[in-house]
């Protein structure tokens, strides 16, 4: 079944024709060519595919593209202000060496931003570790990811993002 979908991705109106079974992540990667959002598993567990849909973080591998009809989607590509001005969370990941291979990073950064906002910019280590439940990293051992998120929370607050 072919269906037309239209949504806003990183502030830009996009549309396309998809099959009913097309996942949101496939629409982003294969139809729009936005390969920043990753697919790391087929069991909805790894979180590499996390994007923001209407203000909520979701696993884009476990949502159909047609379900995002009319939605505002933000992906990792939509965070940085410009090529040389990263989002404070991206900057904190770089500063704290919070990535090695980088495969989990887009989902980590998206989940991290959502976490900081939901906790009103106030986080402690235990909360960060618990909130990262749905994001798996095979390289870093998480320590530097936790450090980066704790460092980014006040930076996001003062940057007003």
């Amino acid at each position: 079944m072919t269906i037309s979908v239209a949504m806003t991705v990183n502030g830009k109106a996009v549309s396309g024709k998809v099959e009913a079974r097309t996942l949101l992540v496939q629409f982003l990667r294969e139809h729009l060519g936005m390969t920043g959002t990753h697919v790391g598993c087929d069991t909805s567990q790894c979180g590499a595919c996390v994007v923001d849909v209407d203000g909520k973080s979701v696993k884009s591998c476990t949502m159909l593209a047609v379900q995002a009809e009319g939605a505002k989607v933000i992906t990792i590509e939509g965070l940085a202000e410009s090529a040389d001005k990263l989002h404070p969370m991206q900057e904190a990941f770089r500063e704290n060496h919070a990535l090695q291979c980088g495969f989990c990073t887009p989902g980590m950064v998206m989940s991290a931003i959502d976490m900081v906002k939901r906790h009103n910019y106030q986080l402690d280590e235990a909360t960060v570790r618990r909130e990262l439940e749905g994001n798996l990293c095979r390289c870093t051992g998480y320590h530097n990811i936790v450090k980066a998120i704790l460092a980014a929370a006040p930076a996001m607050k003062s940057a007003g993002v």
Partner: protein, 265 residues
């Protein structure tokens, strides 16, 4: 995933009509169980009826002595609801420990209860609180609803519209989460309501079950000491790579005692 025809009705009546008219139609709420199942090609529905746009299915209301939660209500909304936190804090806490934040943003109460995964959390709350499950065709009591492994009293095309939970005097849910998935290896929900004391166990067996001996002991004396010698037989419990039946039987006692202590705090 095999392709299917996709529908997004605006009312329960339209959803039911769509489910009836098709060869093999399946309702979808959060999709957090159904989409992974479809990806693995373990199911091949002809039609998917997405319940996400049906306004009458979402939301939380306090009605007299009950908190009524719509079938499409997301786990995250149950976890953060002021009404649930004020009247049944154990239910809000349970919802806040299902999976991870992204799962809680999509997964729903109706979908979880209809699915009746042996390791799911909500069935323990529904049984321990003696909740009433309302569907488009009528009502089910908690004790009659969960029939066995992934099996419920729902008939073809019957949709969970809401679940009504009584306010509690004391209650707590403690789970021993599987360290990888966060599903319950064993979870015990202990509740004291106007209707009495109930103890419901999930994760341990093929389906949620009550422990009568603990309920009777706690009705007389609601302390963890009152149940310290009560053992659950391992005979019919799950045994898998995560733990043996004997280990799960042991965990039932430990989780139940911790739940009683937490309820008394």
């Amino acid at each position: 995933m095999y392709d299917f025809a996709y529908h997004r009705p605006k009312s329960v009546a339209d959803a039911v009509a769509l489910l009836k008219g098709k060869e093999e139609a399946r309702p979808m709420s959060g999709g957090m169980t159904l989409i992974p199942t479809l990806k693995q090609r373990l199911a091949r529905p002809s039609d998917i009826v997405d319940l996400g746009a049906i306004k009458e299915l979402a939301g939380i209301k306090v009605e007299g002595n009950n908190v009524v939660i719509g079938g499409m209500t997301k786990h995250g909304d149950v976890a953060t609801s002021a009404d649930v936190k004020a009247n049944i804090p154990a239910l809000a806490s349970l919802a806040g420990h299902i999976g991870d934040p992204a799962v809680r943003n999509r997964g729903t109460m109706g979908g979880s209860v209809a699915n009746n995964d042996p390791a799911a959390d909500y069935p323990a709350a529904v049984v321990a609180l003696n909740a009433t499950i309302t569907t488009n065709t009528g009502k089910h009591t908690a004790d009659d609803f969960f029939k066995g492994l992934f099996e419920t009293a729902l008939s073809e095309g019957e949709l969970i519209t809401s679940i009504s939970f009584p306010k509690v005097e004391k209650a707590a849910y403690i789970k021993f989460p599987n360290p990888a998935s966060r599903y319950a290896m064993v979870g015990v929900f202990v509740a004291k309501t106007a209707g009495g004391v109930r103890v419901a166990v999930t994760g341990a067996g093929p389906c949620v079950f009550r422990v009568k001996a603990m309920e009777d002991a706690l009705a007389k004396n609601f302390t963890s000491a009152a149940i310290k010698d009560i053992k659950v037989p391992a005979d019919d419990l799950n045994s898998d790579i995560h733990g043996s039946a004997e280990y799960r039987a042991h965990l039932v006692g430990v989780m139940a005692r911790r739940a009683v202590d937490a309820a008394n705090k």
